[in-house]
Amino acid sequence: MRQCEVLVIGGGPAGLSAAIEAAKAGAQVVVVETNREVGGQLVKQTHKFFGSSRHRAGTRGIDIAKILRKQCEDLHVELKVNSLVMGIYADNVVAIDEKKSLTEHNIERIQAKKIVISTGASENSIRFPGWTLPGVMGAGAIQTMCNYHRVIPGRKLLMIGSGSVGLIVCYQLMQAGAEIVGIVEALPHINGYAVHASKLTREGIPIYTGYTIKEARGKERVEQAVIAKVNPDWSTVPGSEIVLDTDIVAVGAGLKPLIGMAHMSGCEFVYDKALGGWAPCHNKNMESTHKGIYVAGDTTGLEEASTAIEEGTISGIAIAESLGYIPKDKAKTLKDEGWERLAGLRSGFKGEDRVKAKMKQLNRYDEVMKGGK
C-alpha cells in the first residue's frame, strides 16, 4: 500500500494552508480534492476579504485561491484532484475514489502518518411549499454557477436570508447582470455584516426584515414567490403576503460543518449553534481526539475562509513539529502567532460567540483525553 507522511482531505483554504506549512518544513504531503481543481469555495469568492492587512485582507478570494495553489505547487505538494475520499479506516488508511472519466474510476488506498480533515461545510436548506421546484437552490449554488461556471439559470433572484452569504451573493449576482427582487429575513434585523447590506440598499434592493417565504409557485420552474410577515412565534401574519415575480429563489439559511470523515474516525464532537452545529473538538494543535487526525476550517466549526487559513496553518505547523521537521520552541512561536491572529479574526461582530464555542471545543478535548466522558 502506498505510504505518505501527511494526507489532507479537502483542498480548500484550510487544507491548502495545512499542506503549505507541513511541506515548507519538509514533510511529504498529498492533498485529496474531490473537485477538478483545488481552492475550495475560494474559487467563487470574487469579493475582497476582511481581516488584517498584515495578512490577506483586501485581496479577493479568487486570488487567494491562486496564491495558495501556487505555493503548494512550488513546494511540490501532490494535488490529487477529481478524487473523493470514501473513508478513513484503521491505522490511518484512507480509501480514495479517483474519477478518471464518466465510467472509469481508480480506487486507491494510502496510509498516512498524519491526516488533516478539512472538508468544509454544506448549506442548510429550509422547506416551504414549492421548495423542490427547479429555480429554488442554495445561495452557494447560485454563487458557484455565476462566479465559477459563469452562467445564471434565470434573470431575477429572491434571496432568503440576510446572513453575509445571502448579502454577498446578491451583490455578486447584480455584478453579473441579474436583477435582485429582494432579500427576505425572518429576524427583525439584518443578520450579516451591515456594510454588505448597505451595498445593496444603495442600489435600491429592498431588504424585507421580519418576513419569510411562504411559497414558491410555478409549473416547471419558479415563476413567483410569496413572502409574508412573521409573528414573534414564527407564524405568518394573514393578509401580509406579497407576491414577487422571480425565477430564482436562493436559500441562504446558513451552513453546517461537513463532519462525515471525523465521525467515521471516531472523533469526539461538541454542539454549538455559533459554529453551525456539531463539530469535532480539538486541542491547540488542531488535533482531534483521534491521535494523528487533525481538523481545520469549517469542518470544525462554521467561520470564514480567513479563520480556516489560520487553523490550517496551525495544524500544518503542529504536524511538521510532531514529525520532527520543526523544533519544539520554533513551532510554539509559530503556533502562538497563529492563535493570536485567530483571536483578532474572532473579535467584533458575533466574534465573542465563536470564541466561547471554540473554548468549549478545547475544553471538551481536555476532558476526553483525561478519560472523562
Partner: protein
C-alpha cells in the same frame, strides 16, 4: 444566461465550443464546462422528474452533493451533471424517475 463580461472576472473570450445532444437536439457547450452549466446557458433548468410524483427537479447545491441534477448521460442514468464536464457528441437526457441503464457509449 452566460456571464460573458464581468467587472471583476473580466470578459470571456475565445471560447472553444463543442456540441452535446440534449434530448435528441444539438446544443452548444463550452469545451470542458459542466453539463449543467451548458444547460443553464440555454435556460434549460429541469434535470429530471421524480419517480413517484413526476415532479421536476433542477439544480439545488451545484457541487455534487444533493443529486437533484442527475440526468442520463451517454445512456448512463444518475450522472451528477453539475460536476461532470461536457464532451463533444455527448448525449444528455432529462431523466425519468430512477432512469434506465442503456450504456450506448
Amino acid at each position: 444566461m452566460r456571464v460573458m463580461n464581468h467587472p471583476v472576472l473580466g470578459e470571456q473570450k475565445d471560447i472553444e465550443w463543442v456540441t452535446i445532444i440534449f434530448n435528441g437536439k444539438p446544443m452548444k457547450a463550452e469545451k470542458g464546462e459542466m453539463i449543467l452549466a451548458a444547460l443553464h446557458a440555454e435556460n434549460q433548468i429541469v434535470n429530471r422528474y421524480t419517480a413517484k410524483r413526476h415532479e421536476p427537479r433542477g439544480i439545488y447545491c451545484g457541487i455534487g452533493q444533493c443529486t437533484d441534477c442527475m440526468m442520463v448521460v451517454n445512456g448512463i442514468p444518475n450522472v451528477r451533471t453539475c460536476i461532470t464536464p461536457v464532451e463533444d457528441g455527448m448525449t444528455v437526457e432529462i431523466q425519468e424517475g430512477l432512469g434506465k441503464w442503456r450504456g450506448d457509449k
